[in-house]
């Protein structure tokens, strides 16, 4: 029998809207990806100057994590090496790759080159929040809830982690979608079980009418 873990918080960022636990909390309809992410940063009052030097993928992942952690002070509950991050996407770091190589045709920029790896978004979230546990980045053609469920459950059930931020962060030019889940062993008033069904429900929640029951 496998232990049940719980989605204690989730965040979706897509199509110029930010959703926290299923509810839209911010919208900026006419902005392009860069301007939209900046407006989210300002809305959330993050106050983290490193944000400005990040590529759009890292910006989006960092902001989604901010939403996820807003009312979940997991750093007070767990040790730094008990909190980890497992992310997936389809386009790896291609958005940053294209920008880096355009620039490199004249002068190669180390500040852009460092973002040509998809796991840098994990590094940025880890630095901001001092998370030092297991981390991994996988690439899939489309979101694979079953894999995320299995991999993260292994980490929690074997006590490698006590809390894990996991999900999907994909961005290429103006197409983007982030769906992050905070998964813990504990239940909360708003948590839902960390099952493939619930993971998929949250993943698709931005494409459905509001009011569906996805808890957390």
């Amino acid at each position: 029998m496998t232990a049940t873990n719980h989605i204690t918080s989730h965040c979706v960022i897509s199509n110029n809207v930010v959703y926290s636990n299923g509810l839209p909390v911010f919208e900026n309809k006419d902005a392009d990806a860069g301007a939209f992410l900046l407006s989210v940063y300002q809305f959330l009052e993050v106050k983290y100057p490193k944000f400005y030097k990040m590529d759009n993928l890292s910006k989006m992942g960092l902001l989604a994590a901010e939403v996820l952690l807003k009312n979940n002070p997991i750093s007070e509950l767990y040790e730094e090496n008990e909190i980890g991050i497992v992310l997936t996407n389809a386009n790896s770091s291609l958005d940053a790759d294209i920008k880096y190589y355009e620039g490199a045709k004249t002068v190669a920029s180390p500040a852009l080159f460092v973002y040509t790896l998809p796991n840098i978004v994990i590094g940025e979230i880890s630095i901001k929040n001092k998370f030092k546990g297991e981390n991994a980045f996988f690439v899939f053609e489309t979101f694979d809830a079953a894999f995320v469920a299995q991999y993260v459950a292994y980490l929690l059930n074997n006590n490698i982690l006590q809390a894990c931020i996991c999900g999907w962060v994909d961005l290429l030019k103006e197409d983007y979608k982030a769906v992050l889940y905070l998964v813990e062993k504990r239940e909360s008033d708003v948590s839902v079980p960390f099952t493939v069904e619930n993971i998929n429900k949250v993943y698709l929640s931005d494409t459905e009418k509001p009011g569906n029951d996805i808890g957390a």
Binding site: P110, P118, G123, E134
Partner: protein, 375 residues
């Protein structure tokens, strides 16, 4: 949990085309690193371990890119020595790479069709189709620890019984995209690299592929066991390693714990040893924190260069063959220790009984990984 064993392996590098050939040449101090004229990759000459431009990797190229041909050629050779059935539902393909087909950006304008061709899932589907894998392949892209993350992922999928066999392959190709980036960081040495040496001044890049076939089937219990693994993050800087080495130490501790092995039982450490000032210093600190400073340590970057997404796999294979043959490969390029804390760098072939090996890696994004191999 089930035990996981190495069934077969392959290294395809400028040093040689099989694991045995590569291992043999390393014992003869033969390196793939040499100076290259600039050409399409660079405006200036540079040292790297590169395949010859006219080298054939597979008989039928089938519109596969060099990256995909390396994967296919490496997997084919590893499979040849095994009875593993790719079409078995209990077999999964795991691919490790940092940049895959990114060189396509160098010669074509970016458009949706090109972006789709570059996508790692496109390569994974082509390679999986070539061998008839029935399960969707997994792709790991986690900077310079990708190879170890792929091995750890494979180990876990087998330990839990979700699969019985995992074909874990890694490859990266060195083109202008990657080389220009490392050059912009001033991270490339102007000479053959010198891991852990007092005069080290940067890395050499390398091309290559490596395949490790893992199985939980007890009939392979005579093979080297992948006994444990762990991953950590520095949470310090995206392009500079930890100042303390504490987080790589976490990964080492986690790997030993999952393998059920005490630090003193480790006979040698296959380190990342990129020959940058800061990486090697950080590793020395982590090894000291683990109390392993007297255990022989080597870096293989002087033979293969830094093969990025393939490095964790290639270096694990050499470590496994070291365990089997009871010989530690020396650290090519190392002469005089230049670290704030002492470690025992292997600098000549050492023949001694070997049972357990620790393999580590670290990379951009502050990531660290460690695995334990046992005989």
């Amino acid at each position: 949990m089930k035990s996981v064993f190495i069934v077969a392996d392959n290294i395809l590098s400028p040093v040689g085309g099989t694991s045995a050939e590569n291992f043999d040449r390393l014992t003869q101090n033969i390196s793939g690193v040499k100076q290259h004229a600039g050409g399409t990759r660079s405006d200036v000459p540079f040292y790297a371990s590169l395949f010859n431009d006219d080298q054939q990797f597979v008989a039928d190229q089938n519109n596969h890119t060099k990256f995909e041909q390396l994967l296919i050629a490496s997997i084919s050779d590893a499979l040849k020595d095994s009875e593993i059935d790719c079409a078995d539902k209990k077999t999964i393909l795991i691919i490790s790479t940092t940049k895959g087909n990114i060189s396509m950006l160098e010669t074509a304008a970016d458009d949706p069709e090109l972006n789709n061709r570059i996508a790692l899932s496109t390569s994974a589907t082509l390679v999986a189709g070539h061998f008839g894998f029935v399960n969707q392949p997994l792709i790991v892209s986690h900077a310079c620890i990708s190879g170890l993350v792929a091995l750890i992922t494979g180990m876990r999928l087998l330990q839990t019984g979700q699969y019985e066999n995992a074909v874990v392959v890694g490859a990266d190709v060195i083109t202008k995209f990657v080389l220009s980036g490392f050059q912009s960081f001033q991270a490339i040495s102007a000479a053959p690299c010198k891991p852990f040496d007092a005069t080290r001044d940067g890395i050499n890049l390398g091309e290559g592929a490596g395949t490790v076939i893992l199985s939980s089937n007890p009939k392979y219990a005579n093979g080297i066991k992948l006994a444990g693994g762990s991953i950590s993050n520095d949470a310090n800087h995206i392009s500079g390693p930890s100042k303390t080495g504490e987080e790589l130490f976490y990964a080492i501790k986690g790997a030993l714990k999952s393998a059920g092995i005490e630090p003193e039982a480790i006979d040698f450490i296959s380190a990342h040893g990129t020959a940058t000032i800061y990486n090697d210093e950080m590793e020395a600190k982590a090894i000291n924190l683990a109390g392993m400073e007297t255990i022989p340590v080597n870096s293989l970057k002087g033979y293969f260069g830094h093969t990025l997404g393939a490095s964790g796999i290639i270096e694990t294979i050499i470590a496994a063959h070291s365990l089997q043959q009871n010989v530690i490969i020396p650290t090519k390029g190392f002469n005089k220790l230049g670290l704030s804390q002492s470690i025992n760098v292997s600098h000549e072939l050492q023949y001694l009984p070997l049972t357990n090996c620790l393999k580590t890696a670290s990379g951009f994004g502050g990531c660290n990984a460690a695995i334990v191999l046992t005989k």
